[in-house]
């Protein structure tokens, strides 16, 4: 019995910790029980997406066992604050927020679906089998198409699952690029000041002066639409906010005495930037990133909807909506379900982002 993570915790009456471990165990166990054939295809016909899915299954096992071990070795009560950084205290505040908990759960589910797409999608998202008979089938349990089919007879559920992969990863990677560029430039501008600051901040002003969509359209028009370029463009047009935010933080942080104290101890400049300034700006960066991912997912959907983003037949939520646009009245499900997916995703990101902000950046709290 003790081999199963969480059971030992449950027997020790630590129900919440035990259930969390069991929850993380459920997903890989279900996959192995019901989808072992697809999973085993990793060995017979290896592909990147199957490899990623298999890796994620293993990771979930590791998380379940790792949490089990750390909960078991850790202290039973968490009232002892000693040795807890402000990070851990902040994360605890996030977890105690019920809306954030729901949001985090939904995001975890969405990213799990995206990562496990080849294992859980009922059909091939691009296969047009039986086009004439399977066109525009409404959602139903009997036909086996849970969310119906589109005009090419493709299963909508599978397309949305695969589309999640595209939309979520574009949002994530693009915002990571933006955060990286913005943080780097913001720290340099804030710390060194002078002409470095002037140049970087004028570039920020210039970039913010252009309408973002216009910039994106120009670049896409030149290089042609593709997933790669959408990520690059979204990343390189989104860093200005982070740069301003980080610069402001650094400007106030560098006057704090611990920076002077670090200098007085002979710490060199790169180390002051990376070890003393960066971790102190991380909280607002994380809040910003979380709140922006939702926005970027929306922009990507908009681009794909306009035909400038992800190109069919690769499914993305945006281009699925676009495909359903012509048949909105007689086949409502094609545009509605991916639209719902976008709404849920963006909402979850905003809820989690708000909770993170409340936990880490009390100054910005609205209430």
């Amino acid at each position: 019995m003790y081999v199963i993570p969480g059971v030992a915790l449950l027997l020790r009456r630590r129900y919440r910790a035990g259930l969390v471990c069991l929850f993380f165990l459920t997903i890989p166990v279900l996959i192995i029980l019901f989808r072992h054939q697809q999973l085993l295809a990793v060995f017979t016909s290896p592909s990147l997406e199957l490899g990623v899915s298999a890796g994620y299954v293993i990771l979930l096992f590791a998380v379940a066992y790792g949490m089990n071990a750390s909960y078991l070795s850790g202290p039973a009560s968490t009232s002892d604050d000693v040795g807890l950084s402000e990070w851990r205290l902040g994360l605890r505040r996030v977890i105690r927020n019920h809306r954030a908990k729901i949001g985090l759960f939904i995001l975890f589910a969405l990213y799990s679906i995206a990562l496990l797409a080849p294992l859980i999608a009922p059909y091939d998202p691009t296969a047009q089998t039986n086009v004439l008979q399977a066109r525009f089938l409404p959602p139903s349990l009997e036909t086996g198409y849970l969310l119906g089919t589109d005009g090419f007879g493709r299963d909508l559920l599978s397309r949305i699952i695969y589309g999640a992969r595209i939309s979520l990863s574009i949002g994530f990677v693009a915002v990571m690029i933006a955060a990286l560029i913005g943080t780097l430039l913001g720290i340099l501008a804030g710390y060194f000041g002078g002409w470095i600051d002037t140049i970087i901040m004028r570039v920020v002003d210039l970039m913010l002066g252009f309408p973002r969509l216009f910039l994106i359209l120009i670049v896409i028009a030149f290089v042609g639409p593709s997933i790669f370029w959408v990520i690059i463009v979204l990343g390189f047009t989104g860093w200005m906010g982070v740069a301003r935010l980080v610069r402001g933080e650094v400007l106030s942080l560098k006057e704090r005495e611990f920076i002077l104290a670090a200098k007085a101890l002979g710490v060199n400049t790169p180390r002051i930037l990376i070890r003393h300034l960066l971790p102190n700006t991380l909280a607002p960066i994380i809040v910003f990133v979380t709140l922006t991912i939702g926005n970027v997912i929306l922009i990507e959907a908009g681009l794909s909807f306009l035909g400038l983003g992800v190109q069919p037949p690769t499914p993305s939520w945006g281009n699925i909506i676009d495909l359903g646009r012509e048949n909105l009245l007689d086949a409502w499900w094609i545009s509605t379900f991916p639209g719902l997916a976008i709404v849920i995703t963006v909402l979850s990101f905003n809820v989690v982002g708000d909770a993170l902000r409340d936990a880490f950046d009390p100054k910005l709290r609205e209430d």
């Binding site: 950084s85 611990f258 002077l260 104290a261 007085a264 002979g266 971790p279 102190n280």
Partner: protein, 340 residues
Amino acid sequence: MDALLTVNDLKTYFFTDRGQARAVDGVSFQVDKGETLGIVGESGCGKSVTGLSIMRLIQQPPGRILSGSIRFRARELLTLPGPEMRNIRGNDISMIFQEPLTSLNPVFPCGSQIEEAIRGHEHVSKSQARQRTLGMLDMTGIPNPEYCYRAYPHHLSGGMRQRVMIAMALVCRPELLIADEPTTALDVTVQAQILRLIRNLQAQFGMTVILISHDLGVIAEMADHLLVMYAGKIVEFGSVKEVFANPLHPYTQGLLQSVPKLHQPAEKLAGIPGAVPSAENFPAGCRFHPRCPFNDGEICGREEPAFHENSTWNHTARCHYITTEGDQLVSPHGLEKRST
């Protein structure tokens, strides 16, 4: 006694929109090995800037060390290349600051910040650094070093944080410690503990201390020699005993009079009228003359007084009205007393 640190004609100016601020304007002094030098003065008289100039930590721009020399163990600090200066900081010369509450990085446990100081200067293993950190924390009289090692700054009180700061500054056994108002932000009982700690560690390590303070009581208790600074200049210098017994400069006299005394009836506390002039426009002549009770309206506002120098005196001041009487300097205050 040989001098550990010799500062000669140090000028540190700040160039701001409002003009040139002569924060430190031709300061010269020397500190002997093992002694404690106190620097006193009101806020804004250049005490801290002097300390930061020695460390070469003046924010640049707007600040700049214009001229002068700072010799530490026969090495000129002002022309030392950056990396070498960095190696001196924390290793040979350390500094502790006024605000223990903000002088520690909030995102790291205290222990790792002390280790950073060790590992920045010496090649030691992680476990050695840890051992030395715990040992140093123990020496600063922290009751539970293990706890403090993994505690974050927000878990500790102000006094504890100042002890951590001291541990950080002293862990590499510097020869010179510059303590910039180390006890100002602490309450009086903790203040006494911290001062005693600094003095004990000084004796243990054979360390030289420059103690910057506006608190004459602190200086009287801790220092051997005393510099009184006013408006970017040293106005009086001497051993603590002599300066307290026979203050020469009217400013020093004013400072001493403005300290409340327990054994005297509670009269209205004497203050010095006016405020320190802003560093952008110091008055001509003696910089203290607009506030000085002995201002004669002539030479005081016209000529800058020089130190009364004589190799036999180790106590001197800058004032036109100081006179010699036998082999002693006599202050204008003394003159006045005699005439009445």
